[in-house]
């Protein structure tokens, strides 16, 4: 039986810029930051209150994960906003939305009532969308 999810992936255009976005704007913590053989940088972040789930910031360039061609194809999908990171939960969507907006985070939808709660839709600085959701109690 699978117990939990340990890592999920965000495909990013530039790791340094993505790291700045996820830590300084979204308030995530740095998990691993190490260079492995072949020069591949293994970089993960996690929400401060959920260290068990690591978000891998995988840079789209030729390396142990991608060929040059594959990296270029995924990069174009990220840049056109076709890919998403997932749902980030908050206790107060309106408040977190205002805080992130003040930090310069781009939103494509303000907080909106949905069947499952209040949800805003944002984008990271690579172009991946994310949902900022206050679940319905």
């Amino acid at each position: 039986m699978i117990k939990s999810i340990a890592h999920v992936t965000a495909y990013v255009i530039n790791q340094d810029e993505a790291l700045d976005f996820y830590t300084n704007k979204l308030g995530f913590e740095i998990g691993d930051d190490m260079v492995v053989e072949g020069g591949f940088r293994w970089l993960t972040v996690y929400p401060a209150s959920q260290p068990q789930l690591q978000l891998v910031l995988a840079e789209l360039k030729e390396g142990p994960m991608f060929s040059e061609d594959t990296a270029a194809r995924i990069k174009s999908l990220v840049e056109e906003g076709a890919l998403g990171v997932g749902v980030f939960e908050t206790e107060d969507c309106h408040k977190t939305y205002e805080e992130l907006l003040a930090k310069g985070v781009e939103f494509i939808q303000p907080p909106t009532e949905q069947l499952y709660g209040i949800e805003a839709m944002g984008k990271d600085n690579s172009g991946n969308w994310f949902s900022l959701t206050q679940p319905k109690k």
Partner: protein, 139 residues
Amino acid sequence: MTSLLQLRKVQAGRDYIASNINEPFSLAGAAVCANMSPYHFCRTFKKAYGETPNEFLVKLRINKAKQLLVTENYSISDICDQVGYQSLGSFSSLFQKHVGIAPTQFRKKIWALSSQAFHYPIHVIPSCYSFRLTQCLSN
């Protein structure tokens, strides 16, 4: 559930701990940053993050030590000092307890596995992120 205000306060104390891992641990200092009593800070911290401030600090120190052991050629004493331990014995015991082997053994093991000096071996990351390189290395 920890309120947003409490979380923000306790986060300030957590940031203080994270940015002072090379200094002797000051629970009082972290609690002051969080604007809480040390007792309240510990309780709120554990509730919010599932670990005590001290467990969080030890985790950060051990991770930093692992990184320095692999990517730098510093002596074990220097690394012990850089991650905030004054006693080499305490540092080695804690490292052994959390990693399973002594610092020197850890360094030797990782360096032996890596084909490049001061780089982590590809095997330390999940294979689904490294399948192209591991295929190349195995051919």
